[in-house]
């Protein structure tokens, strides 16, 4: 009960921290991905002349939305939680609290903001007449829930390792950039040469853009195996993250 109210406190603090002192406040949460969407849309459609994905897809922008928002949620959650323990060193050194909560609340805050933005943009696109299956939005939230589990596992592991090896946080953005381009965020699986298409299955993030596209845009179909495997992977990553975190947690204070 108290862990819950404590998490709520940290989430509120986390959300407020991000926009504290910025004039537009929460508006940034929506504005930033919109700008990102505009830039990417322009670059890929007008500069690179990207082939319009799948014949039955409704255009590049909604296609990009289905990949970019989940990626942003994931990347932001992982980046921020990597330094969650380090940033709260002062607190950890003075108050005994369940430290997982610091990572948990960071991930929760990132997902809350990104999911809100995602829902808003889906509704907006629908109003512009793009055929998005808003009825499937609750199912999409299930996809976010699973992505949340995956991100939390990564975040816990990285946050614990970051206490010991400070190189992680600066290296992470580059790694994430690579990972993003290795995932079907800007392109579709079919855009790859045939013999490389199977490789995407080894990337645990591949599932998510494909999931949102299949249920909200009804472009592409996923097999039952993909659902089950990606669910198991998310759970496994969380279990591993928790194991590493628990193993290292008693020594945080010594190395912070």
């Amino acid at each position: 009960m108290s862990a819950l109210s404590l998490t709520a406190h940290f989430v509120r603090r986390e959300v407020r921290n991000r926009y504290l002192g910025s004039i537009s406040g929460g508006a940034w949460a929506l504005l930033q991905p919109l700008i990102q969407l505009g830039v990417y849309g322009f670059v890929f459609v007008y500069v690179f002349h990207s082939p319009v994905p799948g014949a039955n897809a409704p255009g590049f922008v909604p296609f990009l939305v289905m990949g970019l928002w989940p990626w942003n949620a994931f990347a932001e959650a992982v980046t921020r939680s990597t330094t969650a323990i380090q940033d709260n060193a002062a607190l950890i050194g003075k108050v005994a609290l369940p430290r997982e909560l610091l990572v948990l609340s960071t991930v929760v805050a990132s997902f809350l903001i990104q999911i809100l933005g995602f829902c808003a943009i889906c509704v907006a696109l629908r109003l512009f007449g793009i055929p998005i299956h808003l009825v499937a939005l609750p199912v999409a939230l299930l996809g976010y829930a699973q992505l949340f589990v995956f991100a939390l596992g990564c975040g816990l592991m990285l946050a614990a390792l970051q206490v010991f090896v400070r190189d992680l946080a600066p290296a992470l953005p580059q790694m994430l950039m690579l990972w993003m381009f290795a995932s079907p965020v800007f392109y579709e699986r079919s855009a790859l040469p045939e013999r490389y298409q199977g490789w995407l299955d080894w990337n645990p993030f591949t599932y998510y853009p494909e999931f949102f596209r299949s249920i909200l845009l009804q472009s592409g179909a996923q097999t039952m195996v993909a659902h089950v495997v990606s669910f198991l992977v998310a759970m496994l990553v969380l279990a591993m993250g928790l194991a590493v975190f628990r193993r290292l947690e008693p020594f945080f204070e010594d190395f912070l």
Binding site: M1, S2, S5, L6, H9, R13, N17, L20, A90, L91, I92, G93, K94, V95, A96, L97, L161, F164, V165, R166, D167, V244, R247, L248, P250, F251, E253, D254, F255
Partner: protein
């Protein structure tokens, strides 16, 4: 009675890892991930076994770096012990260092909510207590300012105010009283006294022997990470002060000790025997002894002065206080009192004795200080024991007369 121990540590030890280069950190990480608990480290606390029962108050004293704060962090669970074990039961509130857990960008009001949540209060409980906390902290409009604009005194006020509202079973504080101003210190001390009176348990780290003696029944002196002495507060604090005296150089010490002692509510300025203030006085058996001491009273209150006589081996012979005889020391100046006691025809038998003087608070509850002087009694007496008791022989004749009578009887 073990079930009433709120805090129990057994052979508790803490080592900090030695990490100079990032390679060391990487190696330590590998070792920890592999499940090894011991990495290359330096011990800061070793083999500390303590027990604090419900209703007890313990003062932790010692020099900087002796491991006091580390011990507190182990007790509150912020640190994980390297060796041994810690068991703490009950609702604990800890005030470690300044502004424990405050966020500098947030207002005092918001920090109250966060702190209370950290201590496990629910949102409704927090709302109920916020007014009481703000009232106790008494920092006026600053309560709505970001904490980064606070003076250190205000931060402590707020921190302590939060603790008062948590109604802890065990209160752990680290040198926080030293920061507040006089009036707030008094308020805190009064609150802690009430809290202790109501059955609360306290663990206090302080460099102020005055606060330790005022608030704690027991004290534990940590020296280089080990328990040097543990027991009654006056015994331990005096041993600690004596240690400080021995440790530093003469001139500096005199000042340090004088300072440390002057923190006491009462301390002795001197002790003279027959007007002399040397270490040892030699007098003939049956002569007159005048014992005189001067007491410094910090708050100007009238102390009780106790004089005692013990034999060289520590056997008590006699002790008396001004209050027992219905007297009070004479006021010499605003903060100095003097008392003199005369033993006409001192009935001590020849031997080595120690004269002691102590000041007590006016209530006669607390003993604050001790000065000792050696007293050597010279004499040819063959009597046994410590003192000559007044006596009269009856049913007897003078020995010489008896001898003479015996001689003539036989002759």
């Amino acid at each position: 009675m073990n079930d009433t121990a709120l805090v129990e540590t057994r052979h508790l030890g803490k080592s900090y890892p030695l990490v100079f280069r990032s390679r060391d950190r990487l190696r330590a990480l590998g070792q920890l991930l592999a499940g090894r608990r011991q990495v290359n480290s330096v011990p800061v606390l070793e083999d500390v076994s303590l027990q604090v029962r419900r209703g007890e108050s313990l003062g932790l004293i010692g020099e900087n770096g002796a491991g006091k704060s580390t011990l507190l962090k182990l007790l509150t669970g912020v640190l994980t012990p390297t060796t041994g074990s810690v068991r703490v039961s009950g609702r604990v509130a800890a005030l470690l260092e300044l502004g424990a857990g405050f966020h500098p960008e947030y207002s005092g009001r918001e920090n109250i909510a966060l702190s209370a949540a950290l201590h496990g209060l629910s949102a409704t409980q927090i709302r109920e207590k916020a007014d009481a906390i703000i009232g106790f902290a008494d920092i006026g409009r600053y309560i709505d300012e970001p904490v980064k604009h606070y003076s250190s005194g205000m931060v402590v006020r707020l921190g302590f105010a939060i603790v008062t509202a948590l109604e802890p079973e065990l209160l752990i504080t680290d040198e926080v009283l030293a920061v507040g101003d006089e009036s707030f210190q008094k308020k805190c001390v009064r609150w802690i006294e009430d809290y202790l009176g109501g059955g609360g348990t306290l663990i206090l780290v302080s460099h102020s022997m005055y606060h330790v003696q005022k608030l704690c029944q027991k004290a534990c002196w940590l020296r280089s990470g080990r328990v040097e002495r543990h027991g009654d507060v006056f015994e331990v604090t005096q041993a600690y002060l004596a240690y400080l005296e021995r440790k530093s150089n003469k001139a500096e010490t005199a000042r340090g000790i004088a300072e440390a002692r002057s923190m006491l509510e009462f301390h002795l300025l001197d002790l003279t025997l027959n007007g002399e203030s040397s270490d040892t006085l030699v007098v003939a058996q049956g002569s007159t002894l005048r014992v005189r001491t001067r007491v410094h009273s910090r708050d100007g209150r009238v102390p009780i002065v106790v004089f005692g006589v013990v034999r060289g081996d520590g056997t008590p012979v006699y002790g008396v206080s001004t209050e027992m005889d219905g007297r009070a020391p004479l006021r010499e100046s605003e903060t100095v009192y003097v008392a003199e006691l005369t033993f006409p025809e001192l009935p001590l038998l020849p031997g080595a004795y120690v004269i002691k003087a102590h000041p007590l608070d006016p209530e006669g509850v607390r003993l604050f200080d001790t000065i000792e002087c050696n007293l050597l009694i010279r004499g040819e007496s063959r009597e046994l024991g410590l003192v000559r008791l007044p006596h009269v022989w009856s049913q007897s004749v003078p020995l010489a007369a008896a001898r003479r009578a015996a001689d003539t009887g036989h002759g």
